[in-house]
Symmetry: C2
Subunit: 196 residues, 2 copies
DNA sequence: CGCGGGTTTGATGATGCTCAAGCCCGGTGG
DNA sequence: CCACCGGGCTTGAGCATCATCAAACCCGCG
Protein backbone atom coordinates (compact mmCIF):
# COMPACT_ATOMS: atom_id res chain seq x y z
CA UNK A 1 0.00 0.00 0.00
CA UNK A 2 1.52 3.28 -1.11
CA UNK A 3 1.33 6.31 1.14
CA UNK A 4 -0.70 9.24 -0.22
CA UNK A 5 1.44 11.47 -2.39
CA UNK A 6 3.78 8.66 -3.45
CA UNK A 7 2.76 9.12 -7.09
CA UNK A 8 3.59 12.81 -6.93
CA UNK A 9 6.89 11.93 -5.27
CA UNK A 10 7.75 9.49 -8.02
CA UNK A 11 6.88 11.99 -10.75
CA UNK A 12 9.07 14.60 -9.11
CA UNK A 13 12.04 12.24 -9.21
CA UNK A 14 11.37 10.97 -12.70
CA UNK A 15 11.29 14.47 -14.12
CA UNK A 16 15.06 14.30 -13.81
CA UNK A 17 15.81 10.56 -13.75
CA UNK A 18 13.56 7.62 -14.64
CA UNK A 19 13.25 4.75 -12.15
CA UNK A 20 11.99 1.19 -12.46
CA UNK A 21 9.21 0.09 -10.10
CA UNK A 22 11.69 -1.80 -7.94
CA UNK A 23 14.07 1.12 -7.83
CA UNK A 24 11.30 3.43 -6.78
CA UNK A 25 10.24 0.96 -4.08
CA UNK A 26 13.84 0.89 -2.81
CA UNK A 27 13.84 4.64 -2.54
CA UNK A 28 10.40 4.94 -1.03
CA UNK A 29 11.30 2.37 1.63
CA UNK A 30 13.79 4.92 2.99
CA UNK A 31 11.07 7.52 3.48
CA UNK A 32 8.33 7.72 5.99
CA UNK A 33 5.06 9.63 5.82
CA UNK A 34 4.83 12.21 8.57
CA UNK A 35 2.08 14.68 9.35
CA UNK A 36 2.55 18.06 11.00
CA UNK A 37 -0.10 20.38 12.20
CA UNK A 38 -0.29 24.11 11.52
CA UNK A 39 2.40 26.14 13.31
CA UNK A 40 4.47 23.07 14.14
CA UNK A 41 8.21 23.35 13.46
CA UNK A 42 9.98 20.46 11.74
CA UNK A 43 13.15 21.92 13.17
CA UNK A 44 14.09 25.27 14.64
CA UNK A 45 17.17 27.45 14.40
CA UNK A 46 19.71 26.08 16.86
CA UNK A 47 18.63 22.48 16.21
CA UNK A 48 20.63 20.19 13.99
CA UNK A 49 18.62 19.36 10.89
CA UNK A 50 18.42 15.55 10.65
CA UNK A 51 15.83 15.23 7.94
CA UNK A 52 15.49 15.56 4.22
CA UNK A 53 12.11 15.26 2.65
CA UNK A 54 9.43 16.03 0.15
CA UNK A 55 6.20 17.95 0.68
CA UNK A 56 3.14 16.02 -0.47
CA UNK A 57 0.54 18.26 1.15
CA UNK A 58 0.41 21.67 2.78
CA UNK A 59 2.66 24.70 2.89
CA UNK A 60 5.65 25.59 5.06
CA UNK A 61 7.96 28.54 5.53
CA UNK A 62 11.75 28.31 5.73
CA UNK A 63 13.06 31.33 7.60
CA UNK A 64 15.78 32.72 9.82
CA UNK A 65 16.05 35.59 12.27
CA UNK A 66 18.37 38.37 11.15
CA UNK A 67 20.74 40.39 13.29
CA UNK A 68 18.01 42.98 13.93
CA UNK A 69 15.71 40.29 15.33
CA UNK A 70 13.45 40.21 12.25
CA UNK A 71 12.23 36.92 10.84
CA UNK A 72 13.03 36.62 7.16
CA UNK A 73 11.41 34.02 4.97
CA UNK A 74 13.72 32.45 2.41
CA UNK A 75 11.07 30.43 0.67
CA UNK A 76 7.70 28.76 0.95
CA UNK A 77 7.67 25.01 0.44
CA UNK A 78 4.44 23.70 -1.03
CA UNK A 79 3.47 20.40 -2.65
CA UNK A 80 6.37 19.13 -4.76
CA UNK A 81 9.16 20.92 -2.87
CA UNK A 82 12.14 19.25 -1.26
CA UNK A 83 13.14 20.46 2.17
CA UNK A 84 16.35 20.18 4.23
CA UNK A 85 19.18 22.31 5.53
CA UNK A 86 21.96 20.53 3.68
CA UNK A 87 24.61 22.44 5.52
CA UNK A 88 23.37 21.37 8.94
CA UNK A 89 22.46 17.88 7.75
CA UNK A 90 25.98 17.11 6.52
CA UNK A 91 28.05 19.07 8.99
CA UNK A 92 26.03 18.16 12.07
CA UNK A 93 26.15 21.80 13.08
CA UNK A 94 23.05 23.66 14.32
CA UNK A 95 20.88 25.11 11.60
CA UNK A 96 20.34 28.85 11.35
CA UNK A 97 16.93 28.23 9.84
CA UNK A 98 13.51 27.13 11.02
CA UNK A 99 11.03 25.15 8.97
CA UNK A 100 7.49 25.72 10.13
CA UNK A 101 4.15 24.41 8.85
CA UNK A 102 1.78 27.20 7.79
CA UNK A 103 -0.98 24.64 7.31
CA UNK A 104 -1.51 21.04 8.30
CA UNK A 105 1.11 19.22 6.24
CA UNK A 106 2.17 15.83 5.02
CA UNK A 107 5.75 15.05 4.06
CA UNK A 108 7.76 12.04 3.03
CA UNK A 109 10.78 12.25 5.30
CA UNK A 110 14.11 10.51 5.39
CA UNK A 111 17.20 10.82 7.57
CA UNK A 112 20.68 11.69 6.37
CA UNK A 113 21.74 8.04 6.69
CA UNK A 114 18.72 6.50 4.99
CA UNK A 115 18.87 9.06 2.24
CA UNK A 116 22.51 8.24 1.67
CA UNK A 117 21.56 4.56 1.57
CA UNK A 118 18.91 5.29 -1.05
CA UNK A 119 21.46 7.14 -3.17
CA UNK A 120 23.94 4.27 -3.18
CA UNK A 121 21.35 1.48 -3.39
CA UNK A 122 19.64 3.15 -6.36
CA UNK A 123 22.26 4.91 -8.50
CA UNK A 124 19.69 6.77 -10.64
CA UNK A 125 18.36 8.27 -7.43
CA UNK A 126 21.88 9.39 -6.54
CA UNK A 127 22.00 10.93 -10.00
CA UNK A 128 18.69 12.63 -9.37
CA UNK A 129 20.01 14.08 -6.13
CA UNK A 130 23.08 15.47 -7.86
CA UNK A 131 21.03 17.09 -10.60
CA UNK A 132 18.50 18.45 -8.15
CA UNK A 133 21.22 20.01 -6.02
CA UNK A 134 22.84 21.64 -9.01
CA UNK A 135 19.51 23.02 -10.14
CA UNK A 136 18.70 24.36 -6.72
CA UNK A 137 22.11 25.96 -6.58
CA UNK A 138 21.62 27.66 -9.93
CA UNK A 139 18.14 28.78 -8.90
CA UNK A 140 19.54 30.23 -5.69
CA UNK A 141 22.17 32.21 -7.59
CA UNK A 142 19.52 33.44 -9.99
CA UNK A 143 17.23 34.49 -7.19
CA UNK A 144 20.09 36.38 -5.60
CA UNK A 145 20.61 38.20 -8.88
CA UNK A 146 16.93 39.08 -9.20
CA UNK A 147 16.61 40.17 -5.62
CA UNK A 148 19.41 42.65 -6.01
CA UNK A 149 18.36 44.16 -9.29
CA UNK A 150 14.60 44.52 -8.82
CA UNK A 151 12.50 46.97 -6.84
CA UNK A 152 9.98 45.72 -4.30
CA UNK A 153 7.16 46.28 -6.75
CA UNK A 154 8.91 44.30 -9.47
CA UNK A 155 9.53 41.45 -7.05
CA UNK A 156 5.88 41.46 -6.03
CA UNK A 157 4.65 41.42 -9.62
CA UNK A 158 7.01 38.59 -10.47
CA UNK A 159 5.72 36.59 -7.51
CA UNK A 160 2.17 37.34 -8.57
CA UNK A 161 2.95 36.06 -12.04
CA UNK A 162 5.04 33.01 -11.15
CA UNK A 163 3.44 31.78 -7.93
CA UNK A 164 -0.09 33.21 -7.73
CA UNK A 165 -1.18 30.20 -5.64
CA UNK A 166 1.19 31.23 -2.84
CA UNK A 167 -0.53 34.58 -2.51
CA UNK A 168 -3.86 32.82 -2.04
CA UNK A 169 -2.81 30.71 0.89
CA UNK A 170 -0.20 32.76 2.78
CA UNK A 171 -0.88 35.85 4.97
CA UNK A 172 0.38 39.18 3.60
CA UNK A 173 2.97 39.78 6.27
CA UNK A 174 4.69 36.52 5.35
CA UNK A 175 4.71 37.56 1.70
CA UNK A 176 6.27 40.85 2.76
CA UNK A 177 8.95 38.99 4.69
CA UNK A 178 9.64 36.81 1.66
CA UNK A 179 9.99 39.90 -0.53
CA UNK A 180 12.33 41.52 1.99
CA UNK A 181 10.04 44.42 2.86
CA UNK A 182 7.71 45.44 5.70
CA UNK A 183 3.98 44.60 5.70
CA UNK A 184 3.14 48.32 5.46
CA UNK A 185 5.21 48.65 2.31
CA UNK A 186 3.59 45.61 0.74
CA UNK A 187 0.18 47.07 1.52
CA UNK A 188 1.11 50.30 -0.24
CA UNK A 189 2.53 48.45 -3.22
CA UNK A 190 -0.65 46.44 -3.56
CA UNK A 191 -2.71 49.61 -3.55
CA UNK A 192 -0.37 51.06 -6.14
CA UNK A 193 -0.60 47.98 -8.36
CA UNK A 194 -4.37 47.70 -8.09
CA UNK A 195 -4.78 51.25 -9.36
CA UNK A 196 -3.14 50.32 -12.67
CA UNK B 1 55.80 17.29 -15.08
CA UNK B 2 52.96 18.90 -13.13
CA UNK B 3 51.50 22.19 -14.29
CA UNK B 4 51.97 25.14 -11.94
CA UNK B 5 49.21 25.25 -9.35
CA UNK B 6 48.62 21.49 -9.41
CA UNK B 7 49.58 21.22 -5.75
CA UNK B 8 47.08 23.90 -4.82
CA UNK B 9 44.48 22.12 -6.93
CA UNK B 10 45.11 18.84 -5.14
CA UNK B 11 44.90 20.46 -1.72
CA UNK B 12 41.59 22.07 -2.64
CA UNK B 13 40.15 18.68 -3.52
CA UNK B 14 41.63 16.87 -0.56
CA UNK B 15 40.14 19.34 1.87
CA UNK B 16 36.91 17.49 1.21
CA UNK B 17 38.04 14.08 -0.07
CA UNK B 18 41.48 12.47 0.04
CA UNK B 19 42.92 11.05 -3.19
CA UNK B 20 45.75 8.64 -3.90
CA UNK B 21 48.51 9.79 -6.25
CA UNK B 22 47.06 7.72 -9.08
CA UNK B 23 43.59 9.02 -8.47
CA UNK B 24 44.82 12.58 -8.52
CA UNK B 25 46.70 11.89 -11.75
CA UNK B 26 43.48 10.49 -13.26
CA UNK B 27 41.68 13.67 -12.35
CA UNK B 28 44.41 16.04 -13.42
CA UNK B 29 44.62 14.30 -16.81
CA UNK B 30 41.12 15.65 -17.50
CA UNK B 31 42.21 19.23 -16.93
CA UNK B 32 44.33 21.51 -19.02
CA UNK B 33 46.28 24.59 -18.01
CA UNK B 34 45.01 27.67 -19.78
CA UNK B 35 46.17 31.27 -19.54
CA UNK B 36 44.00 34.32 -20.08
CA UNK B 37 45.11 37.90 -20.27
CA UNK B 38 43.56 40.82 -18.47
CA UNK B 39 40.07 41.75 -19.73
CA UNK B 40 39.67 38.49 -21.65
CA UNK B 41 36.31 36.71 -21.23
CA UNK B 42 36.30 32.95 -20.65
CA UNK B 43 32.71 33.05 -21.81
CA UNK B 44 30.15 35.83 -22.22
CA UNK B 45 26.45 36.05 -21.58
CA UNK B 46 24.68 34.48 -24.54
CA UNK B 47 27.40 31.84 -24.95
CA UNK B 48 26.94 28.32 -23.73
CA UNK B 49 29.35 27.62 -20.89
CA UNK B 50 31.37 24.54 -21.83
CA UNK B 51 34.02 24.68 -19.15
CA UNK B 52 34.45 23.94 -15.51
CA UNK B 53 37.67 24.82 -13.83
CA UNK B 54 39.87 25.97 -11.01
CA UNK B 55 41.71 29.25 -10.65
CA UNK B 56 45.41 28.80 -9.91
CA UNK B 57 46.47 32.38 -10.54
CA UNK B 58 44.80 35.74 -11.00
CA UNK B 59 41.39 37.19 -10.35
CA UNK B 60 38.17 37.17 -12.35
CA UNK B 61 34.70 38.61 -12.09
CA UNK B 62 31.49 36.67 -12.66
CA UNK B 63 28.74 39.10 -13.59
CA UNK B 64 25.50 39.62 -15.48
CA UNK B 65 23.68 42.61 -16.92
CA UNK B 66 20.42 43.42 -15.16
CA UNK B 67 17.17 44.60 -16.74
CA UNK B 68 18.29 48.23 -16.33
CA UNK B 69 21.46 47.58 -18.27
CA UNK B 70 23.74 47.65 -15.22
CA UNK B 71 26.50 45.10 -14.82
CA UNK B 72 26.25 43.30 -11.52
CA UNK B 73 29.10 41.26 -10.13
CA UNK B 74 28.04 38.06 -8.38
CA UNK B 75 31.48 37.14 -7.15
CA UNK B 76 35.20 37.48 -7.66
CA UNK B 77 37.06 34.26 -8.35
CA UNK B 78 40.64 34.28 -7.09
CA UNK B 79 43.20 31.53 -6.51
CA UNK B 80 41.45 28.45 -5.15
CA UNK B 81 38.01 29.15 -6.60
CA UNK B 82 36.07 26.87 -8.89
CA UNK B 83 34.32 28.43 -11.85
CA UNK B 84 31.49 27.33 -14.14
CA UNK B 85 27.90 28.11 -14.94
CA UNK B 86 26.47 24.74 -13.97
CA UNK B 87 23.08 25.63 -15.34
CA UNK B 88 24.39 26.40 -18.80
CA UNK B 89 26.96 23.60 -18.69
CA UNK B 90 24.37 20.89 -18.04
CA UNK B 91 21.40 22.28 -19.95
CA UNK B 92 23.36 23.46 -22.98
CA UNK B 93 21.41 26.72 -22.82
CA UNK B 94 23.12 30.10 -23.16
CA UNK B 95 24.55 31.48 -19.95
CA UNK B 96 23.25 34.74 -18.49
CA UNK B 97 26.66 35.40 -17.01
CA UNK B 98 30.07 36.50 -18.16
CA UNK B 99 33.37 35.43 -16.64
CA UNK B 100 36.09 37.98 -17.28
CA UNK B 101 39.73 38.09 -16.20
CA UNK B 102 40.56 41.19 -14.13
CA UNK B 103 44.24 40.28 -14.24
CA UNK B 104 46.35 37.87 -16.26
CA UNK B 105 45.10 34.49 -15.10
CA UNK B 106 45.90 30.80 -15.10
CA UNK B 107 43.22 28.16 -14.72
CA UNK B 108 43.00 24.39 -14.84
CA UNK B 109 40.07 23.82 -17.18
CA UNK B 110 37.98 20.82 -18.07
CA UNK B 111 34.97 20.28 -20.29
CA UNK B 112 31.60 18.94 -19.15
CA UNK B 113 32.39 15.55 -20.69
CA UNK B 114 35.91 15.20 -19.31
CA UNK B 115 34.78 16.37 -15.92
CA UNK B 116 32.02 13.77 -15.94
CA UNK B 117 34.64 11.18 -16.90
CA UNK B 118 36.81 12.22 -13.99
CA UNK B 119 33.87 11.87 -11.61
CA UNK B 120 33.09 8.33 -12.69
CA UNK B 121 36.70 7.20 -13.16
CA UNK B 122 37.63 8.48 -9.69
CA UNK B 123 34.68 7.98 -7.32
CA UNK B 124 36.20 10.07 -4.52
CA UNK B 125 36.39 12.95 -6.97
CA UNK B 126 32.69 12.47 -7.75
CA UNK B 127 32.14 12.59 -4.01
CA UNK B 128 34.17 15.76 -3.82
CA UNK B 129 32.05 17.34 -6.53
CA UNK B 130 28.84 16.44 -4.71
CA UNK B 131 30.10 17.93 -1.44
CA UNK B 132 31.44 21.00 -3.14
CA UNK B 133 28.15 21.64 -4.90
CA UNK B 134 26.18 21.26 -1.67
CA UNK B 135 28.52 23.64 0.09
CA UNK B 136 28.32 26.21 -2.66
CA UNK B 137 24.56 25.92 -2.57
CA UNK B 138 24.44 26.51 1.18
CA UNK B 139 26.85 29.41 0.82
CA UNK B 140 24.68 30.93 -1.87
CA UNK B 141 21.58 30.71 0.32
CA UNK B 142 23.51 32.23 3.19
CA UNK B 143 24.78 35.06 1.06
CA UNK B 144 21.26 35.76 -0.09
CA UNK B 145 20.20 35.96 3.53
CA UNK B 146 23.02 38.33 4.42
CA UNK B 147 22.49 40.52 1.41
CA UNK B 148 18.87 41.07 2.32
CA UNK B 149 19.34 41.76 5.98
CA UNK B 150 22.39 43.98 5.96
CA UNK B 151 22.91 47.63 5.05
CA UNK B 152 25.50 48.59 2.45
CA UNK B 153 27.90 49.65 5.19
CA UNK B 154 27.54 46.32 6.99
CA UNK B 155 28.16 44.46 3.75
CA UNK B 156 31.25 46.54 3.09
CA UNK B 157 32.64 45.96 6.58
CA UNK B 158 32.02 42.23 6.28
CA UNK B 159 33.86 42.15 2.97
CA UNK B 160 36.69 44.16 4.51
CA UNK B 161 36.92 41.62 7.33
CA UNK B 162 36.49 38.41 5.35
CA UNK B 163 38.23 39.20 2.05
CA UNK B 164 40.59 42.13 2.60
CA UNK B 165 42.82 40.84 -0.24
CA UNK B 166 40.02 41.43 -2.74
CA UNK B 167 39.89 45.11 -1.87
CA UNK B 168 43.60 45.40 -2.59
CA UNK B 169 43.44 44.09 -6.12
CA UNK B 170 40.03 45.11 -7.46
CA UNK B 171 38.95 48.66 -8.50
CA UNK B 172 36.37 50.33 -6.27
CA UNK B 173 33.60 50.45 -8.82
CA UNK B 174 33.74 46.66 -9.13
CA UNK B 175 33.52 46.34 -5.35
CA UNK B 176 30.47 48.61 -5.45
CA UNK B 177 28.87 46.42 -8.08
CA UNK B 178 29.58 43.35 -5.96
CA UNK B 179 27.96 45.00 -2.96
CA UNK B 180 24.95 45.99 -5.02
CA UNK B 181 25.45 49.75 -4.75
CA UNK B 182 26.74 52.63 -6.92
CA UNK B 183 30.38 53.73 -6.85
CA UNK B 184 29.33 57.08 -5.38
CA UNK B 185 27.64 55.36 -2.48
CA UNK B 186 30.67 53.17 -1.81
CA UNK B 187 32.87 56.25 -1.82
CA UNK B 188 30.65 57.88 0.81
CA UNK B 189 30.57 54.73 2.91
CA UNK B 190 34.34 54.52 2.85
CA UNK B 191 34.62 58.12 4.05
CA UNK B 192 32.08 57.35 6.75
CA UNK B 193 33.96 54.23 7.89
CA UNK B 194 37.36 55.91 7.85
CA UNK B 195 36.12 58.60 10.23
CA UNK B 196 35.40 55.99 12.92
C1' DC C 1 -19.77 42.72 22.71
C1' DG C 2 -15.14 43.26 23.02
C1' DC C 3 -10.60 41.46 22.21
C1' DG C 4 -6.60 40.80 19.20
C1' DG C 5 -4.06 39.88 15.13
C1' DG C 6 -3.61 41.40 10.60
C1' DT C 7 -4.07 45.05 7.26
C1' DT C 8 -4.37 49.84 5.89
C1' DT C 9 -3.21 54.68 6.01
C1' DG C 10 -0.70 58.98 7.21
C1' DA C 11 3.44 61.62 8.44
C1' DT C 12 8.21 61.63 8.86
C1' DG C 13 12.95 59.86 8.36
C1' DA C 14 17.04 57.10 6.63
C1' DT C 15 19.43 54.97 3.01
C1' DG C 16 21.08 54.84 -1.36
C1' DC C 17 20.28 56.77 -6.31
C1' DT C 18 20.60 60.46 -9.90
C1' DC C 19 22.61 64.28 -11.92
C1' DA C 20 26.40 67.11 -12.07
C1' DA C 21 30.77 68.97 -11.16
C1' DG C 22 35.45 68.69 -9.60
C1' DC C 23 39.63 66.19 -8.46
C1' DC C 24 43.43 62.91 -8.72
C1' DC C 25 46.67 60.49 -11.28
C1' DG C 26 48.75 57.68 -14.79
C1' DG C 27 49.54 57.57 -19.76
C1' DT C 28 50.37 59.85 -24.21
C1' DG C 29 52.01 62.94 -27.48
C1' DG C 30 54.16 67.31 -28.58
C1' DC D 1 59.76 67.62 -19.63
C1' DC D 2 55.44 69.30 -19.66
C1' DA D 3 50.56 69.88 -21.30
C1' DC D 4 46.75 67.43 -22.05
C1' DC D 5 43.48 63.77 -21.81
C1' DG D 6 40.49 60.34 -19.73
C1' DG D 7 39.03 57.06 -16.38
C1' DG D 8 38.05 56.47 -11.81
C1' DC D 9 37.22 58.35 -7.43
C1' DT D 10 35.12 62.04 -4.61
C1' DT D 11 31.75 65.48 -3.28
C1' DG D 12 27.39 68.12 -3.32
C1' DA D 13 22.31 68.82 -3.85
C1' DG D 14 17.96 66.97 -4.55
C1' DC D 15 15.10 62.80 -5.13
C1' DA D 16 12.94 58.00 -4.79
C1' DT D 17 12.13 54.08 -2.22
C1' DC D 18 11.29 51.83 1.67
C1' DA D 19 11.41 51.96 6.99
C1' DT D 20 9.54 53.71 11.21
C1' DC D 21 6.14 55.31 14.33
C1' DA D 22 1.50 55.72 15.21
C1' DA D 23 -3.30 55.39 14.70
C1' DA D 24 -7.40 53.55 12.68
C1' DC D 25 -9.81 49.88 10.73
C1' DC D 26 -11.49 45.25 9.76
C1' DC D 27 -13.10 40.90 11.02
C1' DG D 28 -13.20 36.32 13.13
C1' DC D 29 -13.74 34.34 17.59
C1' DG D 30 -14.48 33.68 22.42
Amino acid sequence: MLPPGADHFRKAIEELTPLSDEQFAEVLARFELRRFSKKECLWSSGDVCRMIGFVTKGCLRYFFTDNKGEERIMYFATEGWWIADLNSLYSGKPSLYTLQALEDCELLLSTGEKFEEACSAVPPFGEFYGKKTRRSYSASVQRFADMQSESAEEKYLKLLKNYPQILQRVPQHYIASYLGIKPQSLSRIRKQVKGK
